[in-house]
């Protein structure tokens, strides 16, 4: 009787020990893999380029400048009165990604947005007034025909979202810090 109980007890202990050993092995393996996977994330020098300051005084009304930020083009567009009005007058409930123009700009005359189509990452045309700007006067993606309006909102085509607005602040009237 006690023999069997001892045996059962022994087996339980062995099970427990084996499970613990297997568990520790798994934890060790995951812990060793984590730094390897993490090394694939953006490195410190890549992250260091995460903010830039741009002098916007030279951008004429109706034109934009494309600056490079975190390896991505950012559109800084000096909007005309007409374009601002167009952007503000849109019925937000009819948009596929519902955002008002006020949510997307800090000063109405300046639209700052990441110039990467939210469909598959192409750079939309329309920064220069000579380029095609699509049916809504903003940008037109040459890859799969997504149309963006003067607030950088998606209006037509396969892209699901508006052009993202990066974090930025106006350091002075003519200098903006992105990131």
């Amino acid at each position: 009787m006690t023999d069997t109980a001892d045996k059962a007890d022994n087996e339980n202990r062995r099970d427990f020990l084996q499970l613990t050993a297997a568990g520790m092995g798994a934890v060790g393996a995951v812990a060793a893999a984590a730094p390897l996977v993490n090394s694939l994330n953006p490195a410190a020098d890549t992250l260091a380029l995460s903010t830039i300051e741009v002098d916007i005084s030279g951008i004429p009304v109706g034109e934009s400048r494309t600056v490079f930020w975190q390896g991505k083009p950012v559109f800084i567009r000096h909007r005309t009165e007409e374009e601002i009005k167009e952007a503000q007058d849109v019925d937000v409930s009819a948009l596929s990604d519902k955002q008002t123009d006020e949510e997307r700009v800090q000063k109405p005359e300046w639209l700052i947005a990441v110039g990467i189509c939210t469909h598959l990452g192409c750079v939309p045309n329309g920064s220069k007034s000579t380029e095609p700007r699509g049916e809504y006067g903003g940008w037109l993606c040459p890859c799969h025909g997504s149309h963006y309006d003067t607030s950088g909102r998606i209006r037509k085509g396969p892209a699901p979202k508006n052009l993202p607005v990066p974090k930025y602040e106006f350091i002075s009237d003519t200098v903006v810090k992105i990131g």
Partner: protein, 427 residues
Amino acid sequence: MGSGTREKFDNPVVDWVDERLPIFTLMQREYGVFPTPKNFNYFWNFGAILMFMLVVMIVTGLFLAMHYTANTELAFDAVERIMRDVNGGWLMRYIHMNGASFFFIAVYLHIFRGMYYGSYKAPREILWILGVVIFLLMMGTAFIGYVLPWGQMSLWGATVITNLFSAIPVVGEYIVTLLWGGFSVDNPTLTRFFALHFLLPFVIFAVVFLHVWALHVTGSNNPLGIDTKGPQDTLPFHPYYTMKDTFGLIVFLIAYAAVIFFFPNSLGHPDNYIPADPLVTPAHIVPEWYFLPFYAMLRAITFDIGVPFTDIVIISAKLGGVIVMFSSILIWVVLPWLDSHPIRSAKYRPIFQKLILILLVDFIFLGYLGAEAADAKYFGIPVNYFGLAATAYYFLFFLVFLPVLSKLEKGREMPPSINEAVTSKGH
């Protein structure tokens, strides 16, 4: 491996080695006397051709790697230096570059042969699934390899394809940043792609080994799809199939060499001779030709799937396209269970035969659509409607037609054995 009886070899050196490491016994058994159905047609050549192509790609790739530099500032120039200054560099590069295309031509024929003659059916399910794994690894390797010359299509193709992962809910953006090692396809991406492009062929080699192992456990299927019943149905692999495969391989090489030496760039895109520029998007981004059918399925889904009459979106168009594209290949994994019809070969299944030939045409048509501009029209109808119809047939074939035919299709009368079928044909 290594157990069991040894063969006896006349050459004393061979025999001495074999006693200690029975590698010659293994070769003799698996490639020498290995009993192989005697009725293979030339579609059974592609296994050997693929093996040859894998070696060609690894060898030329190794030598190209000795001259290549995986850095965004230098990669394009390094490839041009190979083309202009390295001795015979243009030849190595054109062999490797067009080798990818010919590798895919051979693999598509190999896969289609497997589908047409029911090679995926019991007892060869594992063999088939390993093949699907090899195909997926090949696609990954080829896609990554196309990025290395760092031309416009390299950069933008990589951008479009890696962005597919951003369609995954919640963790998508994180995964894309992890893949890129930055905030766009850039130097860290190129460097890791090069490392992976070097590694993956060896992983493919390992899976090919398993694929061949599984093949040698079950033995080969054959055009009749009936099992071998004894020595009268088979031939030793050597010299019958070694010689037949070599002949087929050389015919394949004639076509391959013609492209390498006379149309080396006909399968590529001119834009990849423009150095990559992250600020200029090419007017029309197309993947390599061998991805076009899958790319067409990706683009066919242009609508959100959600709760009707509300704005609630369950699967966005983007995610839907990605799901459709990946499942179009992953569906092959369960093919042995979708098609449970007892007859293997399409030769004895009249309805299946017609439907799978339509599938072939459908797949080629998808390839055409994949190369069209997104806003192109046929007869005034946008191409993505055609894409949707072709995609629908593709999935209907696997998910509806095959299971239904498994239950209902009445096969043609089959010959009693391979031997009788061959001799009665008056060969």
